[in-house]
């Protein structure tokens, strides 16, 4: 359906060396900018203080408080929470839904990235703009949208699917779809720039050497974008584990059945089981921060490699 455009391709031929140059320039500039900063110590310190203070009040201190709350009685809080069957079930469900959603997004995300970068077709720009849409739609609206289409009673496709024995809303497929929706752009946003930077010279070379499309994809394309995929997956995982609004709408929120960890936090907190709420929050936050640290540690390594 799509036609390859070799003009674009040729422009890209030089882009990888340009990228290399840019990176080394950035390294040079690191020294440079220190000198710029030294010019006015009062201003530098003022800005530093402002930024650190702002982040401290907004993010760091509150986060620290959650940790304190969780471990107020040592590990007992977490232990009690983990013995609650509702908590166990919610955590397991969250993990299952997230892993499934990330897997689907991975396949879809890599496919769309390839489509956007390697092919030219009418509507490419529109698609590229639409991909970012889930980032600016309220999770509640996402849930509502899915309910309207897949609801078993009055949805567009819902009744038909239900007649065929597939229930989406108030069941796990709906939760997976909601999670996919909100995390959709993350992998694509990581992979697209890398695909653009590496260009398709290597893929063409592989094809000229007799590799089929499938072989080229696995042997050449995937190794080239593997770090981007890793970041995308980790970010998607963090986002999926933490999805609340959209899942709450489609899940039906039955404790022990379709209640995910985030929904559970809300319920427990409102039922004044604060220790449990804080413990589960801590676990979720810990997973999220762990994901961030993984990305932060991987990033410099990968950019070194591509240089």
């Amino acid at each position: 359906m799509a036609k390859r455009l070799s003009e674009r391709r040729r422009e890209r031929g030089t882009s990888s060396s340009a990228g290399r140059e840019r990176r080394s320039k950035r390294a040079q500039r690191a020294h440079h900018s220190a000198a710029v900063g030294r010019r006015n110590p009062a201003l530098t310190w003022g800005l530093r203080f402002l930024v650190v203070g702002y982040l401290l009040m907004l993010v760091l201190w509150p986060s620290w408080y959650v940790v304190q709350h969780t471990f107020a009685d040592g590990l007992t809080g977490i232990q009690t929470a983990l013995q609650d069957p509702d908590v166990q079930h919610a955590l397991l469900l969250t993990a299952e839904v997230s892993v499934l959603a990330v897997a689907i997004n991975l396949v879809f995300g890599v496919g769309v990235s390839l489509l956007l970068v390697r092919y030219d077709f009418p509507g490419r720009r529109v698609l590229s703009a639409l991909i970012d849409l889930p980032l600016s739609v309220s999770p509640v609206v996402v849930g509502l949208a899915l309910v309207l289409v897949y609801n078993g009673r009055y949805g567009w496709f819902g009744p038909w699917l239900e007649d065929n024995g597939i229930q989406i809303i108030f069941s796990w497929p709906g939760m997976v779809m909601a999670t996919c929706f909100v995390a959709l752009p993350l992998i694509i946003r990581e992979v697209v720039p890398v695909l653009e930077e590496i260009g398709d010279d290597q893929e063409q070379a592989a094809r000229s050497l007799g590799a089929s499309g499938w072989q080229t994809f696995w042997r050449i394309t995937v190794p080239g974008i593997r770090w981007a995929i890793v970041y995308g997956v980790v970010l998607s995982l963090a986002r999926s584990l933490g999805e609340f609004g959209a899942v709450k709408v489609v899940a039906g929120n039955v404790a022990g059945e379709t209640q995910t960890a985030t929904v559970l936090v809300q319920q427990k907190y409102q039922n004044f089981e604060q220790t449990t709420a804080y413990s589960v929050s801590f676990l979720l936050a810990f997973a999220a921060v762990l994901c961030l640290i993984v990305v932060a540690l991987l990033r410099p390594k990968a950019s070194k490699e591509s240089r």
Binding site: R29, L58, L60, S138, V140, V147, F181, L235, T262, A277
Partner: protein, 251 residues
Amino acid sequence: MIWFSLLVLIPLAAIIVKASGGGWHTYADTLSNSQTLDAIKLTVGTSLLVTALNMVMGTIIAWVLVRDRFPGKALLDLVIDIPFALPTIVAGLVLLSLYGADSPLGLHFANTRSAVFLAIAFVTLPFVVRTVQPVLEEMETDVEDAAASLGASRAVTFRRVVLPTLVPAIFAGASLSFARGISEYGSLVLLSGNLPHRTEVTSVRVMSYLEGGDTAAAASVATVLLVVALLAIVSLDIIARRVARRDGRNG
């Protein structure tokens, strides 16, 4: 493509169709509800304020992260992403612990409009920072040095040379931040108290319509949210372009 349509396009279309199903009537009815109207006003107003704050703070944070060097900067870089990665419900809880009823600082923001502001500021923190940061990294310090060598003070250099380059990125980040702000739900559930006319935001309205079974009303409020987000993105894009062009002509 089919998956994308089934997952994103058709459901979103369904909202608009559902909302328009009752003609203008549904809109009129829903929007004349003073509780809904207050929620929309609060959401949009607060998001605008927060976005303005983010444009200033986000640029400053990005500047410090790129140009300054001090121990612990890498940690600070990591902290920026926390609001993005943290589950929103947990974000609400996090803020509640410091600014809630038993706040050690004596700041009792819970169930007030300040809480709404705080929560939105928290979740939208990364956007401007993360769009401005790469532009600042690409920017040549040579240009600043050149301006300085021509006799420009730091303030003048910043305003005439640095800022115009950053403007598109700042506005791009701002529109993301605004869109995220008006759609925020999770972090507000616990923090704002959802008091009708006072601290209830639009997403919460949609939720309560939905829980009450009034999907048409929910869909029409959702449509309003979508339209506002779209308008904001488009108008910020136009402003950014205009600013960039004006600077080009004068500078």
